[in-house]
């Protein structure tokens, strides 16, 4: 449909997609259409939230994670593990065992992603004091991308401090460099509970380049680890474990885990539609006196991450239990503090315009007026039979020359009833949207 200017972390597998349109209905930026029987992504509008992946009943959406084998391109292979990973297992599976298995699966060192949270928190509080309010957390990459695309006027509210994953990665890079290990020998890998974080590592915002060398899909890796556990894979204990983590760090990726550490009036909002609702009123200037907003695309935050397979409430509960056993501060906090402030900042995040109608405002106005007239003709039930997510989206597509009035099944039936549209033509239109073989089935 359009040129790809952003590194998308998901891809539709045309040979698997049956064009069922489930994805089209849940996309928060209306970036999906069905054409010739397959889902098509409008790359510029995609924010990598993964809602389409979550709902796809046919597993036709592929996560563009990195090939696991590439970890062997490096002599030192560090895996950054998020606290949500341990919560994927039943509480009876010991964490120590999970660490050992990760070693057997090929990593030389494992580190807790949220290790940097304790020193980051101090920086956040300092930042919030002097920034334009409310400050919006930079933690959730799907939310950042949502704001860039749908709420461009709010980009300056996004905190210009890196999220914990990047700070921990920088710490590791620095640690290995200090130990005299050549750059090419260290591979830093991130185990991701979501798709947006893949996009965040591959094409980061705010003028930043991530030192992370590869991203591993948590769903995939959970299966690998759990299989090894079930089959009692012998462990040699060769892995170096850096599990230093405070309760604050463990809870950070859960809802409220970030805002709880920020001084002033804060709110924690999770779930894509809740976040959108709130950003709408924030953009309308209806919100006053809030200092900090923790906004997370997934219900229950990362516990409900796209690649977190376990029930989100049980996952969040496990994380809380884990946190209850952890100390308030961990031993490496000072070490992190020593150099965090030097690497923690990023540039302003640029908005990404959706270009709904046209770049030229006069042309856009004309198209919009036509779309408004068209919308009056459509039934307003957003059935999706036209291959667009809503009657409004169809009207927009038509004025941009990407669809046709007859794509609407209601109007088409009306034209057929009046004898203005032959049956063969109506079938052809349906085939253009839903695929040529769709209407050949014999029952």
């Amino acid at each position: 449909m359009s040129r790809t200017t952003y590194n998308r972390a998901l891809e539709i597998l045309d040979d698997v997609c049956i064009g069922c349109s489930h994805c089209m209905k849940v996309c928060p930026t209306e970036a999906l259409r069905v054409s010739a029987g397959k889902a098509v992504i409008h790359a510029d509008w995609c924010i990598d939230c993964g809602e389409c992946y979550r709902i796809c009943p046919n597993r036709a959406i592929r996560v563009m994670d990195d090939d696991f084998k590439q970890i062997y391109n490096y002599k030192y292979r560090v895996l950054l593990v998020p606290s949500v990973f341990f919560a994927q297992f039943e509480d009876s599976v010991p964490r120590e065992k999970i660490y050992q298995i990760i070693g057997e699966l090929g990593f030389t060192e494992v580190c807790a992603v949220e290790q940097s949270v304790d020193s980051l928190t101090d920086e956040v509080n300092e930042y919030v004091k002097n920034a334009q309010k409310p400050v919006i957390s930079s933690f959730c990459p799907a939310v950042i991308r949502l704001i860039q695309v749908r709420f461009p006027s709010l980009v300056d509210h996004i905190m210009q401090l890196l999220p914990p994953i990047e700070i921990t990665a920088q710490y590791y890079k620095n640690k290995f460099a200090k130990a005299g290990i050549p750059d090419g020998e260290l591979g830093i890998f991130y185990l991701t509970p979501c798709i947006a974080k893949i996009a965040a590592v591959k094409s980061p915002v705010g003028g930043y380049t991530s030192p992370i060398n590869g991203v591993i899909n948590m769903d995939f890796f959970f299966n690998k680890v759990y299989l090894a556990y079930k089959q009692r894979l012998p462990v040699s204990g060769n892995i170096s474990i850096n599990g230093e983590l405070s309760s604050k760090g463990i809870l950070y990726p859960t809802t409220g885990g970030e805002s709880a550490n920020v001084e002033g009036r804060t709110l924690a909002i999770d779930g894509m539609s809740n976040v959108i609702d709130f950003l709408e009123i924030l953009e309308n200037e209806e919100i006053d006196g809030v200092d900090f907003l923790e906004l997370r695309a997934c219900d229950q935050s990362c516990a409900g991450g796209i690649l977190s397979h376990r029930n989100r409430f049980l996952t969040a509960e496990s994380m809380k239990k884990y946190a209850a056993t952890a100390p308030d501060y961990h031993k490496l906090t000072l070490d992190y503090q020593r150099y965090t402030s030097a690497v923690i900042h990023m540039d302003r995040i640029e908005p990404r315009s959706m270009v709904k109608y046209d770049r030229d405002i006069d042309a856009a106005l004309q198209k919009m007026e036509r779309a408004r007239e068209l919308r009056e003709l459509f039934p307003g039930i957003d059935c999706g039979a036209c291959g667009a997510p809503s009657c409004e989206a169809l009207a927009e597509d038509i004025v941009k020359g990407q669809s046709e009035i007859n794509a609407c099944i209601f109007l088409r039936t009306l034209y057929e009833k009046r004898g203005e549209l032959p049956l063969e033509e109506a079938i052809k239109i349906m085939e253009r949207i839903w695929g040529r073989t769709r209407f050949d089935k014999r029952f």
Binding site: S153, E280, N284, E285, V355, Y357, I361, D362, L365, E369
Partner: protein
């Protein structure tokens, strides 16, 4: 493009509908976010003024490539002293309205500050018409 919205006095739960809708349209037209912000602030203030002070009103928006012209015409008590109403912090809002977080003053000065053109016509006992013009470039 011409748009029209009706506003009912006292209906605070619906206040902001017109500014929300117009915001959406301006975003779809790729108007500079900083300009949209000014439109939303000015229009929202003016819309809430109708809800808080008038009996009913009509908001008309006229959008072209150069900018937006808003006309907010209400049937209401009118403004006895426009100069006083333009003073930051001055408010005639009732206690009930203030308790809802509205009516802290600043309405008119704030609108004027965000508008390129701003005009008030008011007749005491009949109503007030605001004209707000904001250029896109």
């Amino acid at each position: 493009m011409n748009l029209e919205y009706k506003v009912e006095g006292g209906d605070f739960t619906s206040a902001g509908l017109a500014s929300s809708q117009i915001k959406k349209i301006l975003k779809q037209l790729n108007v500079d976010p900083a300009v949209i912000k000014r439109v939303v602030i000015a229009l929202y203030e003016a819309e809430v003024n109708i809800v808080a002070h008038a009996y009913r009103g009509v908001i008309k928006a006229q959008i072209d490539g150069g900018g937006i012209n808003l006309t907010l015409e209400d049937e209401g008590p009118g403004i006895p002293d426009v100069e006083m109403a333009m003073t930051p912090g001055f408010s005639t809002a009732s206690k009930a309205v203030r308790e809802m977080g509205f009516g802290a003053g600043m309405g008119l000065p704030n609108i004027s500050e965000n508008a390129d053109d701003f005009k008030i016509d008011t007749i005491v006992g009949q109503g007030t018409t605001l004209r707000i013009g904001i250029k896109f470039r």
